[in-house]
């Protein structure tokens, strides 16, 4: 870990002003990912701006339009167990509680969850080349041990996956991210926040250096009647997803009126496919239709040496999870 200057701020604009003055400054909230990365010499900020004492950012509240605002500093656990979230957005609760451990969820912030970095073995090992860590050094995962890596949206420069569970649900729910920067405030649709690797895999998302996330807005519809989250992993708990699926439906009778599907563990960002959701709309909730949606989502899936199984695993996970969301499958995993 490098030495750094530590500053506590009590206002958002103090934080963004400090960020704008130092390209190598970073914000700390929960710290559960940043401190890990600093100990590994992957992240080497020379200035740490502690935003935990900014008042109000840890709130979870209902807005006048019925949307719910999750403060960026609200802890993952407080969010998952919050009565409004548990009741109106159970998909989000489930996804959060599928991630990490209770201790980590108690500390990790909502804003920080969006900014988690990949668990790619090669990203974490400074002795191996990695374009995400050192742009231009090469991707060791390609041709390496890539069992946990991407099958969707990867590039020849990076096949890492985004590790969050919470974000898979936020993607499905069409959340909006509110951001403050030295130039003012802006909002970004969830789908536009995280990036695919392309030839800039060192950029995980579209947050600028002088910006910080202040809150996340959830639309009114939380799909509390027909939802499911499925996480498949190498042990029963406390492991990152090989495949995760968030499914949410509006169903009338047996007909799907609105469908949301998001996938985790498969790509550089939570994966949405609007076409697949569209083909389910006004269709019956059935194995056949869910299979067709899965096929469409995975149409362009590409496997590497060790992760071909993820394509079939994802297909089955999508179908099973959609059946669960539609209350058609009685065998929860």
């Amino acid at each position: 870990m490098n030495p750094f200057v530590y500053t506590t701020v009590e206002k958002v604009d103090e934080a963004t002003s400090l960020l704008s003055k130092n390209l190598n400054a970073k914000i700390i909230a929960g710290g559960t990912n940043l401190i890990d990365l600093m100990k590994e010499n992957i992240s080497k900020p020379d200035e740490i701006i502690d935003v935990n004492r900014i008042p109000g950012l840890d709130q979870i509240k209902e807005l006048e339009n019925g949307c719910i605002r999750l403060g960026a500093l609200a802890r993952n656990a407080d969010t998952a167990y919050h009565p409004i979230i548990a009741k109106r957005y159970p998909l989000l609760s489930r996804a959060i509680l599928a991630g990490a451990s209770a201790q980590l969820r108690n500390m990790a912030s909502n804003g920080g969850n969006l900014l988690q970095r990949t668990r790619c073995y090669y990203f974490y090992d400074t002795a191996t080349p990695c374009n995400k860590r050192v742009p231009g050094s090469g991707c060791s995962a390609i041709g390496g041990y890539n069992r946990i890596h991407a099958i969707l949206g990867a590039s020849e420069d990076c096949i890492a996956v985004f590790p969050s569970d919470m974000c898979v649900a936020l993607a499905a729910l069409d959340a909006t991210i509110n951001i403050s920067g030295s130039a003012g405030e802006r909002s970004v649709a969830f789908a536009d926040f995280h990036r695919l690797p392309g030839d800039t895999p060192h950029l995980d998302n579209n947050l600028q250096q002088d910006e910080m996330i202040t809150s996340i807005d959830l639309p009114v519809n939380g799909f509390e009647n027909n939802y499911a989250y499925l996480k498949l992993r190498d042990r029963t708990s406390y492991a990152f997803a090989l495949v995760s699926v968030a499914s949410a439906f509006e169903i009338e009778g047996s007909i799907i009126k609105e469908a949301r599907l998001a996938l985790g563990g498969l790509a550089h960002k939570p994966w949405r496919n609007k076409d697949a959701e569209d083909i389910l709309t006004n269709k019956e909730a059935s194995v056949e239709n869910f299979s067709a949606a899965a096929d469409l989502i995975l149409k362009d899936a590409k496997a590497y040496d060790r992760n071909a199984f993820k394509i079939e695993l994802a297909r089955r996970a999508i179908v099973r999870n959609c059946l669960n969301a539609a209350n058609l499958h009685s065998n929860p995993i």
Binding site: M1, G143, D234, S237, F240, F309, A317
Partner: protein, 747 residues
């Protein structure tokens, strides 16, 4: 004299329990030492080659950074390779830290940075850049099977006998067998990963005397190593290790942080602490990657005709680490035609190291899965198949087992599990839409006893302290030795204390191999018996001599006094006896020796029958071990509570071995890629469901007078094959490679 068993066999809570639950138990990195320096280790990032140049200017310019130690400036250490040999060193030349510029494996320690505090040392280490001369390396067992050769022999091979000579005509017998089963079994590399990371705190005292708090399974081994390597007198090196945060074999050899911390302390003449980090816990000893082939044949009645079992394992280029992998086949099952073979492939890796039931865990899985296959093909119940091939004689040595209550394990374990309700047909059992499978396997492990010494001291306060330089790596040594001593002396357990983990105490071997209970137990017994004799001698000097003309057998130790049996009035208190000596205590130091003459006529082993249930979600390949019953025959159980914990731990390890654990190497780099606890998956709470342990009664008057056989390994050996067999029963699919991750099971 009294040997009434008041505590032996009782489920007492651990005597060290309170210290472990309130945070007072101190582990190697936790001893407060004033003015302590911190060392941070730098490891190589290449697998083979040499160090060209180390750029350390930036690091050394930092205020508070004292020195960097490398092969270029290390202290003078022993010249002879032999001096680096520890009590568990395999044949070959031990790895010598910072010895030369040569790199032998990826992760090799190559430098130590010493600073005034931990954070500074860690930062300084991150500033050091190393230029290497890289040479091509080879770390891949599969692509080098042609290099396989017989292991070299050495001192350590004495406890690890090689395979026996072949018997009969194996090829022909296999060809002729009515039922045949075979398989190729590949096991991944595994690391011990005790929760406590390796650490040494070296306290530098004037005149170069060292007191070292070390994480080790044997303080004597660490002392021997430090004294030999650094040319110091034994009395100037004291090693202390009262608590060990798990080891599982990883502490059987001195680890490199011990060398590095001692080197720095001697050079800087300051106290130094060096802890490994979790990555570094993957940079030494491990259970080696092993490839095994079996070919077993039986007749239609289930009688085994032929056993062929060969194993090829990896080792380093500099030491031939071996374990007993294939011998178990013929120890468990008699056959006229037997071929057992064990070979090594040296690679550019660190030397493997004994890991919980070394060899047994590796070998039993192929054996018990191949036997299961024969039973299935013969349409004979797997338990019945094993009864058909049951033997009370070890077919390799031809010696009878000193005791073998395995049939009772089958009976009690099977009943508890409900084995008779099993539908033998694969894929026949379902629950909640998932396939259910029931499988079983047998386990076996050696019951060894080595020599050890102990000292029993009766204080003026009437309290007994027994000491021995052994260890308690979580096994319960403190507790069971206190029980043995209290019973031996007829004392209340509250007046007895057992001390361990200090080289000032009498000599003991390392703790491991399931031999500590018998080894140290017999030493404690010897010391207490010796002390009793001294107490009686002293009592007879006290006037009036109430024991005059009393037969020794009629004198009894009872609680706090010495008395004549049946005469409640005639007694002398232990305190008075000590007081009469005019000294502060009475002590006796004795050796517990195995009765070799008696033992050598017998094969001495523990046995288990393991019954496992799995639920399989075939779509996803997810296997849930819902239930395991382990029935254990292991002589007399000193403490059923701590013993049960040992077996439960073995079962959890078995689940990890079967389904979870593998250190994954990228052979392009020769580097382990999941060297952390997030991606090296040891089981978590949610992985563990119903586990039941049964100890069947077993008498054994051969192994030792206390009838102790040891239980550290028997809990794990049969678990992985029982799970694999249950998985076959559930799915109809045999999966030969471990760990069984979900893609191997997905239909």
């Amino acid at each position: 004299m009294s040997t009434e068993n008041k505590y032996f066999g009782q489920p007492l809570s651990r005597v060290d329990g309170p210290a472990k639950v309130n945070g007072q138990a101190k582990y190697a990195a936790e001893f407060y030492v004033p003015d302590l320096l911190y060392g941070y280790i730098i490891n190589s990032t290449i697998a083979k080659g040499s160090i060209k140049k180390i750029h350390a200017e930036k690091a050394l310019a930092l205020t508070g950074v004292l020195k960097m130690f490398t092969h270029e400036n290390r202290n003078r250490t022993a010249w002879l390779d032999l001096k680096y040999t520890d009590m568990d060193a395999p044949p070959g030349v031990p790895f010598k830290p910072l010895h030369s510029a040569q790199i032998k494996y990826n992760g090799q320690p190559i430098a130590l940075v010493v600073a005034e505090n931990f954070e500074l040392a860690r930062y300084a280490a991150s500033l050091i850049h190393i230029d290497y001369e890289v040479e091509p390396h080879n770390t891949n067992l599969e692509s080098n099977l042609g290099e396989a050769r017989k292991p070299k022999k050495g001192l350590a091979s004495l406890l690890k006998s090689g395979p026996p000579k072949s018997k009969g005509d194996v090829a022909k017998a296999y060809e002729k067998s009515e039922i045949k089963a075979s398989g190729k079994f590949v096991h991944g590399m595994e690391h011990h990963n005790p929760m406590e990371m390796f650490a040494s705190t070296v306290v530098y005292e004037p005149e170069g005397k060292l007191t070292i708090y070390d994480k080790t399974q044997g303080v004597v081994n660490s002392q021997l190593y430090v004294a030999n390597v650094f040319g110091k007198a034994f009395k100037k090196v004291r090693v202390i290790s009262p608590y060990v945060g798990g080891a599982f074999g990883s502490g059987l050899r001195p680890q490199y942080q011990l060398f590095l911390s001692v080197m720095a302390a001697l050079d800087l003449k300051r106290s130094v602490k060096v802890s490994m980090n979790r990555h570094q816990m993957f940079s030494f000893g491990y259970r080696p990657r092993t490839i095994q082939n079996t070919r077993f044949g039986s007749n239609i009645e289930g009688k085994l005709q032929v056993l062929h079992h060969e194993a090829i394992a990896e080792t380093s280029r500099f030491e031939d680490y071996t374990e007993i992998v294939v011998n178990w086949t013929n120890m468990m099952y008699p056959s006229e035609n037997v071929n057992l073979d064990y070979k090594l492939v040296p690679l550019d890796v660190s030397t493997p190291l004994d890991m919980r039931a070394p060899g047994g865990v590796t070998g039993l899985h192929p054996i018990e899965c191949t036997i299961d296959d024969l039973a299935y093909q013969s349409k004979i119940d797997p338990v019945q198949f094993r009864l058909i091939n049951y033997s009370d004689v070890d077919s390799i040595s031809g010696k009878p087992y000193s005791s073998k209550e395995l049939k009772e394990c089958f009976k009690q374990g099977g009943e508890r599990f409900g084995w008779d309700k099993r539908d033998p047909e694969p894929r026949s059992m379902k629950r909640n839409g998932k396939l259910v499978g029931w499988g079983m396997a047998v386990g076996i492990w050696e019951a060894l006893q080595l020599p050890a010494r102990a000292e029993a001291t009766l204080g003026a306060d009437g309290k007994l302290i027994v000491s021995c330089a052994t260890a308690d790596i979580g096994t319960g040594t403190y507790t069971i030795m206190t029980q043995i001593a209290a019973d031996c002396m007829g004392m209340d357990i509250g007046n007895v204390e057992f001390c361990l983990g200090d080289t000032n105490m009498p000599l003991a071997p390392v703790q491991g191999g399931s031999f500590t209970s018998a080894t140290v137990g017999m030493a404690v017994h010897a010391a207490c018996t010796g002390l009793q004799k001294k107490i009686i001698e002293q009592a007879k000097k006290i006037e009036p001599d109430i024991f005059k003309r009393i037969n020794l057998d009629d004198i009894e130790f009872s609680s706090d006094s010495l008395r004549i049996k049946g005469h409640s009035g005639n007694f002398i208190s232990l305190k008075d006896i000590v007081a009469s000596t005019g000294k502060s205590d009475l002590k006796s130091r004795n050796t517990g020796l195995p009765d070799v003459l008696k033992q050598r006529k017998y094969a001495r082993t523990t046995h288990s029958a393991v019954f496992a249930e799995v639920e399989v979600d075939e779509d996803f390949g997810i296997v849930k071990v819902t239930r395991i019953v382990s029935a254990i025959a292991a002589g007399k159980i000193i403490n059923p509570k701590t013993a049960k914990s040992q077996i439960l731990g073995g079962m959890v390890w078995g689940i990890g071995k079967a389904l979870r654990e593998e250190s994954i190497m990228d052979h392009r780099f020769g580097r382990i890629m999941n060297a952390n606890l997030a991606e090296y998956h040891i089981p978590v709470h949610a992985d563990i469901n119903d586990l039941e342990v049964i100890f069947v009664d077993e008498e054994d008057h051969i192994v030792n007078d206390l009838q102790i056989k040891g239980i550290g390994e028997i809990g794990i050996v049969g678990v992985a094959p029982a799970i694999a067999n249950a998985l076959f029963h559930a799915t109809g699919k045999r999966i030969y490679d471990l760990p069984i991750t979900l893609e191997k099971v997905m239909s």
